[in-house]
C-alpha cells in the first residue's frame, strides 16, 4: 500500500467507525484532493467529505468550533505553506481551548498538511513549517515517514482529544510499504537497526536520507542506529536518550532549515540530559535545509536539503 493510500484508508476506517469524523478541504470531493489522497472517498462518505470554498481561515475556524461541539474534523490544507492562513484558529483557538475554558471544551481536530520540497513547486508550495508550531503549547505534531506509521498515526490523531497537526511529505505519497497490525501511539519514536557506532535521528522524508546515509556508512564499517521520531511534539525523549547513550554519537537530520526547528529541540534535549550529554564521544552533528527559500530549479532545489553522501562523509570524520 502506498503512503497516499494508507492515509486514505486511515480516514475511511475512522469515518466508517464514527460519523462525526468529517473531512473539510478544497477539492477533496470529486477532484480527489490536490494530491489524490481523498480520491473516491466522496462516494462512500457523501456527508463526511466536504468541499470548501477557498477560505482556509474560515473553514478551519469553523472546524475548530465544530470540534468543540464534539465533531472530529479532519482539515486538509492543500499545501502546508498555507499554514499562515490557519494560524489564528489553530494557535489562538484550537491549541488553547481546553486550557482557557478550564477544561470545559476539547478540540479534537486533525489538520493534514502536505509539505516539503522536491516537486518543483517553488518557494510558496514547498515549505515544511512544523518548527513554527513547536512554540504553540497545546498542539501535537506528527510527521510519519512510511505508510504503516502514516496509517496508524493518522487514526490515533483523529481519535486524540487534542488538536493534531499531521505533516505529510509530498515525496512520500507514492512510496510503498506493508501496514503493520500494531497500532502506533502518538509520542513514540521508532528505532531502526541496532548499530553501535552512531545514532541518526530524523523524521518524515529525512528518514529516507538517514537510511541511505546509514547504508553508505555501513560500506565503510560504521554501524548506525536510525531513530524515526514520528511524533515531533511531544518528543519521545526517552527513546532519543537511550539510543544516543548507546552509541555516544548523535547525528540529526531534517529537511527544513535548522533555526528554531525540531532538531534544535532534540539537540537541546540531549545537551540538557546529564546522562546523555555525558555519554557523548563527540559533538552533535546537525544537517538541516539551507537558510534560503526553496528554489524552483530542480538541481538548485535539491541543494537545499541534506544529502546522504554529504552526511556519510561528515559522519565518517567523527571516527
Amino acid at each position: 500500500m502506498t503512503f497516499r493510500e494508507a492515509i486514505r484508508k486511515a480516514m475511511a476506517d475512522e469515518m466508517a467507525a464514527d460519523r462525526n469524523v468529517v473531512l473539510f478541504g478544497e477539492d477533496v470531493g470529486v477532484y480527489g484532493g490536490c494530491f489524490k489522497v481523498t480520491e473516491g472517498m466522496w462516494k462512500e462518505f457523501p456527508d463526511q467529505i466536504i468541499d470548501t470554498p477557498v477560505s482556509e481561515e474560515g473553514f478551519t475556524g469553523m472546524a475548530v468550533g465544530a470540534a468543540m461541539m464534539g465533531l472530529r474534523p479532519i482539515v486538509e490544507i492543500m499545501y502546508a505553506d498555507f499554514y499562515t492562513l490557519i494560524f489564528d484558529p489553530i494557535v489562538n483557538h484550537a491549541a488553547k481551548t481546553h486550557f482557557m475554558s478550564g477544561g470545559q471544551f476539547c478540540c479534537p481536530i486533525t489538520v493534514r498538511l502536505p509539505e516539503g520540497s522536491g516537486t518543483g513547486h517553488g518557494a510558496q508550495h514547498t515549505q515544511s513549517p512544523e518548527g513554527l508550531f513547536l512554540n504553540s503549547t497545546g498542539l501535537k505534531l506528527v510527521a510519519p515517514s512510511n505508510p504503516s506509521d502514516a496509517y496508524h498515526l493518522l487514526r490515533a490523531s483523529i481519535r486524540d482529544n487534542n488538536p493534531v497537526l499531521f505533516f505529510e511529505h509530498k515525496l512520500l505519497y507514492p512510496t510503498e510499504g506493508e501496514i503493520s497490525n500494531e497500532p502506533v501511539p502518538i509520542g513514540k519514536a521508532k528505532v531502526i537497526g541496532n548499530g553501535l557506532d552512531v545514532t541518526i535521528i530524523a523524521y518524515s522524508h529525512a528518514v529516507t536520507t538517514a537510511l541511505e546515509a546509514a547504508e553508505l556508512l555501513k560500506e565503510n564499517g560504521i554501524d548506525a542506529t536510525v531513530v524515526d521520531l514520528r511524533t515531533l511534539n511531544p518528543l519521545d525523549k526517552e527513546t532519543i536518550f537511550k539510543q544516543v547513550q548507546k552509541t555516544g554519537r548523535a547525528v540529526l537530520i531534517q529537511d527544513p532549515n535548522g533555526i528554531g526547528g525540531i532538531d534544535a529541540q532534540v539537540c537541546a534535549a540531549i545537551c540538557q540530559d546529564k546522562k546523555t550529554f555525558s555519554s557523548l564521544k563527540c559533538r552533535v552533528l546537525q544537517f538541516s535545509g539551507k537558510e534560503t527559500p526553496v528554489p524552483f530549479s530542480r538541481d538548485l532545489e535539491k541543494l537545499t536539503i541534506p544529502q546522504a553522501k554529504d552526511i556519510a562523509v561528515a559522519v565518517g570524520k567523527l571516527f
Binding site: W42, G61, V64, N92, M100, S101, G102, G103, F105, G138
Partner: protein, 347 residues
C-alpha cells in the same frame, strides 16, 4: 410567558448587567482585579434582547465585551467575579479572566480576544447543529450536489456569532458569512454596532453606511434595528431566529448601540466628544425601558426602585462571596494538567 413577566425579567437582566459592570469597574479601580476589562454599560438592551429571545439550548459566541451576554445567557455573576479574581471557582477556573468566560452548561462557548475570530467558531457550532439534525446527509453532500439547491431543513437550535462593528472588517467574518450561506447553516450573525472599534469610528472604517448592507453580498437577509430599545431587539431576534430555525440559513442582524465607557480601562476617550456621549446617555437603554414599563403599567416607580435595589444588592453579595474564596487558586500542577485534554474527556 406573559408580556408583563417578560418585561420584568428583561429589566432585571439589564439591571444585573449594569450593576455587574459598575461593580467590576469599582473592583478594577481598587486594584482588586488584575489585567483589563471591557465594560458594556449602555449596551444592555442589545445583550439582554438577544439572549432572552434565544432558546436555552441555542449557543452564543460573545465578543470581548462579554459580561452582559454571559449574565443574560444564565451564568452565575458570582462565578464571573471569581473568574476575574483568578480563582478556582471562576467559570474557567481563573485561567480566562474578563474576556474569557465560557460556560458550556449555559451554551456559551466563550469569547475570542482576537476580534472577529469567534465568528468562524460560531459557524462551526452551526455546522454541528445542522449535521446532527435528522436530514443532515442531504446538506453535506457538497461534493456531488449544489447545497444551495437543497430544500430548507428545519433545525431545533441555532448558533449566534456576536461581533462588533470593528470586527466586521475581518476576513474571517466575510469568509464565515459566505460559508454559512452556501451551506445554509443555522447561524445568526449578530453585529453589535457600538460605533467604535477601540478608537476607530465605524464611519471612517466601514465602506458602507450599515454593516447589515453587506448581507446582500452573501445572499442572506440583513436588518438594522435600534439596539437601545429592548423590545425592538428582542422581536427582531425572534424573527431572525425563526427564519434560521426554519432551515433558511444565516441572517445578519445589526443592532445600533453605544458604549458609555471607554474601550477598556485605559481608554481616555479622546476620539469622541462629551456632547456625543451625553446625547447617547439620554437614550440609556435601561431608562428607556423603565419608561415603557411605567407607561404600560407593568410596574410602579416604587416597584422599579425596589427591583433596582434588589439587583444591586444581589450583585454586591455575589461579588463579596467571590471575594471570600478568591485566594483559592489552581496549583501549578493543575494548570499544567489543563494544557491537554485526557483520553477520556468529551464534551
Amino acid at each position: 410567558m406573559t408580556e408583563k413577566q417578560l418585561s420584568i425579567d428583561a429589566l432585571r437582566m439589564m439591571l444585573n448587567s449594569r450593576y455587574f459592570e459598575e461593580k467590576t469597574e469599582e473592583l478594577f479601580k481598587a486594584g482588586q482585579i488584575h489585567g483589563t476589562t471591557h465594560l458594556a454599560n449602555g449596551q444592555e438592551a442589545a445583550q439582554a434582547g438577544l439572549c432572552m429571545a434565544l432558546d436555552k439550548a441555542d449557543w452564543i459566541v460573545p465578543t470581548h465585551r462579554c459580561h452582559g451576554f454571559t449574565i443574560c445567557k444564565g451564568s452565575s455573576p458570582k462565578a464571573m467575579f471569581a473568574e476575574m479574581f483568578g480563582s478556582r471557582a471562576g467559570l474557567a477556573k481563573g485561567l480566562g479572566g474578563s474576556m474569557h468566560m465560557p460556560d458550556a452548561g449555559h451554551c456559551n462557548l466563550g469569547s475570542s480576544a482576537v476580534v472577529g475570530s469567534g465568528v468562524p467558531l460560531a459557524t462551526g457550532i452551526a455546522f454541528k447543529l445542522k449535521f446532527d439534525s435528522a436530514d443532515s446527509a442531504a446538506f453535506a453532500t457538497s461534493t456531488n450536489q449544489n447545497p444551495k439547491l437543497c430544500p430548507p431543513q428545519p433545525v431545533k437550535n441555532i448558533s449566534v456569532a456576536i461581533f462588533g462593528d470593528g470586527a466586521s472588517s475581518r476576513g474571517s467574518v466575510h469568509e464565515s458569512m459566505n460559508i454559512a450561506s452556501i451551506w445554509k447553516l443555522p447561524v445568526l450573525f449578530y453585529c453589535e454596532n457600538n460605533h467604535y472599534g477601540m478608537s476607530a469610528s465605524s464611519d471612517k472604517m466601514i465602506s458602507v453606511d450599515k454593516v447589515s448592507d453587506r448581507a446582500s453580498a452573501y445572499g442572506i437577509p440583513g436588518k438594522v434595528v435600534d439596539g437601545n430599545d429592548f423590545e425592538e431587539v428582542y422581536n427582531s431576534v425572534i424573527e431572525a431566529a425563526s427564519y434560521i430555525r426554519s432551515g433558511n440559513g444565516p441572517y445578519l442582524l445589526e443592532v445600533m448601540t453605544y458604549r458609555f465607557k471607554g474601550h477598556s480601562k485605559s481608554d481616555r476617550r479622546l476620539y469622541r466628544t462629551s456632547d456625543e456621549e451625553q446625547q447617547w446617555m439620554l437614550r440609556d437603554p435601561i431608562l428607556l425601558f423603565e419608561q415603557k414599563i411605567l407607561a404600560s403599567g407593568y410596574m410602579t416607580q416604587q416597584e422599579i426602585e425596589s427591583l433596582e435595589k434588589e439587583c444591586k444588592e444581589d450583585i454586591e453579595n455575589q461579588a463579596g462571596q467571590a471575594l471570600d474564596t478568591c485566594s483559592d487558586k489552581l496549583s501549578e500542577n493543575e494548570v499544567l494538567n489543563l494544557v491537554y485534554a485526557s483520553e477520556e474527556e468529551r464534551l
